[in-house]
């Protein structure tokens, strides 16, 4: 097939016209669809632990969330630990990274403790605390409100007498994690001979006996795969720990022990989320207060300036009148 010059010219013109029309349409569409800010930041910020510790190199959790939304690495948050990195990776649909931190500071839930007999009441730690978790006044002893402390250790360096230590957070009973989940009362702790566990054969016997009609085998796969959210979605929190599934399992899988452990982990995640939202609130309130105080001081300074200006003016006039 021979293509005439005419046809080529028409083709070029036609294609250019399509391109121009398409470009114009897209330009209008991009004007109409302009997005202000990035709503993704809020979802990321909700996953960060809100310690406001600055170990990621940003002045707080919200700035780091903004940086992640702009493409920064997601593994710079030591207080959040590997769990937070995994959750952010899950949210963004990317591969998880290994936490970028020293091994020894990971997975330790610490709080600040002021050795009260050594405190000289300098208030430097109060100014450093990002979440207002230290009470005290000038030349009076300070102390840490443990429930509000996020363990960011920003108060340790400013202390001139080195009286602040980081200690493990005292555990309330809600935080108790079974160290030996196989100690739960069931057949295997009543002196019955322990059978070695073999792989699940998907017989469904556990689902038939479950009094709350859960699917124990699905929850087990989720827990074994480390997908706690998925297990909760399958109804993990409704499990009543009756261990009926244990009794019928032909593979002798300790299902109830897995569920007990998973329930504790799920509860801890809930508590952590509550604590972090409280910490965020306190951090935001503190920033608002600091801003308000700065504004008030600016106002006072301005008032003083105009006052002294008026006094000077008066003196000058008086001098002129006298001369």
């Amino acid at each position: 097939m021979t293509v005439s010059m005419m046809s080529i010219g028409l083709g070029v013109l036609g294609l250019s016209a399509i391109g121009l029309i398409g470009g114009a349409l897209l330009h209008q569409a991009s004007k109409a669809c302009r997005v202000n800010g990035n709503p993704l930041v809020d979802s990321i910020d909700a996953l960060l632990p809100q310690t406001q510790c600055g170990q990621c190199g940003h002045p707080g959790c919200l700035p780091y969330a903004e940086a992640i939304a702009d493409g920064e690495a997601i593994n710079r948050c030591p207080p959040g630990g590997q769990a937070t990195v995994d959750r952010i990776a899950n949210l963004l649909g990317t591969d998880s990274l290994v936490l970028d931190a020293d091994e020894n500071i990971v997975d330790q839930d610490l709080v600040a403790l002021i050795i009260e007999e050594e405190c000289i009441g300098c208030t430097k730690c109060i100014q450093a605390c990002p979440v207002d978790a230290i009470v005290g006044a000038n030349k009076l002893m300070h102390t840490v409100i443990i429930d509000d402390c996020t363990g960011c250790d920003l108060c340790v360096d400013p202390c001139p007498v080195d009286c602040i230590d980081m200690v493990p957070r005292p555990k309330a009973p809600d935080f108790w994690m079974p160290q030996h989940p196989d100690l739960i009362s069931s057949d295997r702790s009543r002196g019955v001979e322990l059978q070695p566990e073999s792989p699940c054969i998907r017989c469904g016997a556990c689902a038939t006996v479950c009094p709350v009609r859960l699917q124990p085998q699905l929850m087990l796969f989720a827990l074994k795969g480390g997908a706690l959210d998925h297990a909760v979605h399958e109804g993990l929190t409704d499990c009543v720990d009756c261990a009926a599934c244990n009794a019928v399992c032909p593979s002798h899988i300790p299902l109830a022990e897995w569920f007990r452990l998973g329930q504790f982990q799920a509860k801890q995640v809930l508590i952590e989320r509550k604590l972090s939202s409280e910490a965020r609130e306190r951090f935001e309130n503190r920033n608002l207060r600091l801003k308000r105080i700065a504004a008030e001081q600016d106002l006072k300074r301005a008032a003083r300036k105009t006052k002294s200006g008026e006094a000077l003016e008066k003196a000058r006039k008086a001098r002129e009148a006298a001369s």
Partner: protein, 193 residues
């Protein structure tokens, strides 16, 4: 009307674009790790497919045939598809920034999704009318969405399953895709073409 319905069934099930004609495999493997992102991808692709089959029909009948420049067909269709995809990307970014970041590179890559160009070219090859083009596009899109979401559901389960080490990840996904293609062969012969 029956013809149009048959056209949809044919494009969606019998000649499924992904599992029978093996078009659009890139997003099929790439965005199928989670159901919600697969759902978003399905909606975006459906939108682009329907829009681009209309655009391709109009281009064909109003520009390419009158000017006798059929040799520009592929180029002109790609331009129309690219515009449709860019428009979809803007809309998704506005409507759901989370979905936008989850879909990532696969959203602009709809442009080079062979299923989209395939629908446009098949429409012109078979001399479909406007209505037929639209219904063929919708059928292809629903077939793509169905398979993508089914596959995402299977893969979510696979993540928790106890799979032997050498088969983890992409290998078991490809094997599963093969089984699904086998299953879809059961539809063959239900309609002509």
């Amino acid at each position: 009307m029956t013809d149009l319905l048959l056209l949809i069934v044919s494009a969606a099930l019998v000649n499924n674009f992904v599992l029978v004609q093996f078009l659009g495999l890139c997003p099929f493997m790439g965005v199928s790790s989670r159901i919600d992102s697969a759902l978003g991808m399905s909606i975006a692709t459906t939108f682009v497919l329907t829009l681009s089959s209309v655009a391709a029909y109009l281009l064909q009948s109003l520009l390419l045939i009158p000017l006798d420049v059929m040799w520009l067909r592929t180029l002109a269709f790609i331009v129309a598809i690219a515009v449709a995809v860019q428009f979809t990307e803007l809309a998704v970014k506005k409507a759901s920034p989370l979905l936008h970041s989850v879909l990532g590179i696969y959203l602009p890559l709809i442009t080079t999704n062979c299923a989209v160009l395939g629908v446009a070219l098949l429409n012109t090859n078979r001399a479909h009318t406007l209505a037929e083009s639209v219904f063929y596009g919708i059928g292809a899109a629903s077939g793509f969405s169905l398979v993508l979401i089914l596959f995402a559901g299977v893969r979510e389960r696979l993540q928790l399953a106890d799979i032997p080490e050498p088969f983890r990840g992409a290998s078991v996904a490809l094997i599963t895709a093969g089984f699904m293609a086998l299953a879809f062969m059961g539809f063959s012969g239900m309609t002509r073409s």
